[in-house]
């Protein structure tokens, strides 16, 4: 098993790598906010006939706009919160003054953001430039890739300067908070200078901004590959593979998957608000809804089988224990109790059931049978069948799809459950 050991070791290192960890934790900082904001989004588009007229009758025609305010305050700040969060966590990991480092990262990031926008006003030939504004595209999910790059770079510069001791040291009698803010001056200066140079260089190119350059060269191809059936299937495969090696899969894959899924989710959210076609199939909640029924690997079917249909005492015990958490999409008891880890009989249906989720999502989409999810973010622990109904904005086709996927996973898990149960039963009754 030495190859497995090596893979586990590597996997462990990947999952624990400080930059990836910081990216994950930093972006996740906005999760409670976006869940809360989603509630307003859900109410705004509540699929009850007559609801819209009812609300317009009481609050006026623009009642809907008011409900979108909290959505903007949350979703449109995903990038900003991530900038603060990533730099904070990374600095914390390095045992630096994390709040100061986060502030430095924020000013570093905004050094790259143009402070005007170009608007095309009807009847005017040239675009009008409005000064004194920062466009929301720079604070939202769309800019996550640049945010990640700048946050990490800022903290590394901060760390380098601090390590070299190139800081302004004040005499001992100065209170620590004052001294701290002074020591941050030189790192802040360096970060500002670096970002300033980058800004000037790119404004002279056809891209005009560093953001546009990164969007063209990194974000666009990444979202194309990551949002494709093949790309997403591969990422989910690795997420499940990590679990089979005893490593928290979603955590390990999140530095790659979360930024992408946030970008997809937010793009869908904006289109949903504007009543336009939803651009992406795979959203944050979509992945959770279709590939994590009962937990990663769509283990709910297996869990139910163990709890109610097992002959062996062992599986019956695990099933009963795991059923409660499974309803809330937690399946560590299954992963570590059966276990799934390093157990081929479980690894195969685990990965297969997950893949079926992605496959059917894709099939439902290309046949036009299943509606895309509008970018509502729900807590990942929300029970199945309820979660898809809410995240789908009340649409029935995603709910039907989830039920279909669940039924398919029943057929996948059944034979493997039988084998496992028979083996365990034989062991218990001494027939082996």
């Amino acid at each position: 098993m030495t190859f497995m050991d090596k893979f586990q070791e590597v996997g462990g290192k990947v999952a624990g790598q400080r930059h990836l960890l910081a990216v994950r934790d930093g972006i996740l900082l906005s999760l409670p906010a976006t869940i809360a904001g989603s509630i307003f989004l859900i109410i705004r588009f509540l699929p009850i006939p007559g609801f819209e007229n009812f609300m317009a009758g009481i609050f006026g025609q623009s009642w809907g706009d008011a409900f979108l305010y909290p959505v903007a305050a949350t979703f449109d700040l995903i990038g900003l919160i991530a900038c603060f969060g990533i730099s904070y966590r990374l600095a914390e990991g390095y045992k630096l003054d994390s709040v100061t480092a986060a502030v430095v990262a924020l000013i570093g990031y905004f050094s790259l953001v143009p402070s005007n926008i170009s608007v095309n006003i009807a009847n005017m030939e040239a675009a009008t430039v409005v000064g004194g504004v920062w466009s929301m595209e720079y604070t939202g999910a769309r800019s996550l890739i640049v945010v990640i790059m700048v946050s990490i770079a800022s903290v590394e510069i901060f760390r380098f300067i601090t390590k070299k001791g190139l800081v302004l040291k004040l005499p001992e009698m100065v209170p620590p908070n004052v001294a701290k803010s002074f020591t941050a001056i030189i790192p802040a200066l360096i970060v500002l200078f670096v970002m300033w140079i980058i800004r000037i260089v790119f404004s002279a190119t056809v891209y005009k901004t560093f953001h546009a350059f990164i969007n063209a060269f990194i974000t666009a191809p990444l979202t194309k590959v990551g949002g494709s059936f093949a790309g997403m299937s591969i990422m989910i495969f690795f997420k499940d593979l990590f679990w089979t090696l005893g490593i928290h899969g979603p955590n390990a894959m999140s530095p790659v998957m979360v930024p992408l899924l946030r970008i997809f989710t937010d793009a869908n959210r904006l289109a949903y608000e504007a009543g336009q076609q939803l651009p992406y199939l795979f959203t944050q909640s979509g992945i959770e809804i279709f590939t994590q029924i009962g937990g990663s690997g769509n283990t709910l079917a297996f869990t139910i089988m163990c709890a109610f249909f097992a002959k062996s005492r062992q599986l019956k015990q695990i099933g009963r224990l795991a059923l409660g958490p499974a309803i809330f999409q937690i399946n560590e008891p299954i992963i570590f109790g059966v276990p799934v880890v390093l157990n081929p009989i479980m690894m195969v249906p685990f990965i297969l059931s997950s893949f079926v989720g992605v496959l059917f999502m894709w099939l439902g989409d290309i046949t036009g049978l299943v509606a895309r999810l509008p970018g509502i973010i729900i807590p990942w622990t929300m029970p199945s069948f309820i979660n898809v109904y809410i995240a789908g904005g009340g649409k029935l086709s995603p709910l039907v799809l989830q039920i279909v996927v669940f039924i398919v996973t029943v057929f996948i898990w059944a034979p493997f459950f039988r084998i496992l149960d028979n083996n365990a039963y034989k062991q218990e009754t001494g027939q082996m």
């Binding site: 005893g246 224990l321 560590e332 570590f336 109790g337 276990p339």
Partner: protein, 96 residues
Amino acid sequence: MKIVLCCSAGMSTSLVVSKMKKIAPPETDISAMGMEALSTDAKDADVILIGPQMGYNKPKVVELFPDKPVEIIPMRMYGMADGEGVYKLALELVKK
């Protein structure tokens, strides 16, 4: 006695914690926390147990608390939420 369990989001481990609290004497302080909270909230812990899916963090935890017993919870014990087993393990480690 203070026992600290370390895991990724605290959710899976809290199952183990509640099982442990059922059999441990009432004065025992048992809690679950993520890696980030360890350095502040586990300072007075008598033993630190790590969930198996966070096993790769053991060296980091040992570095944080070189004079405390740190161990990874055996996989089966964790998966089955064997609170009794984990509690006994904690006791053994503290005794050493």
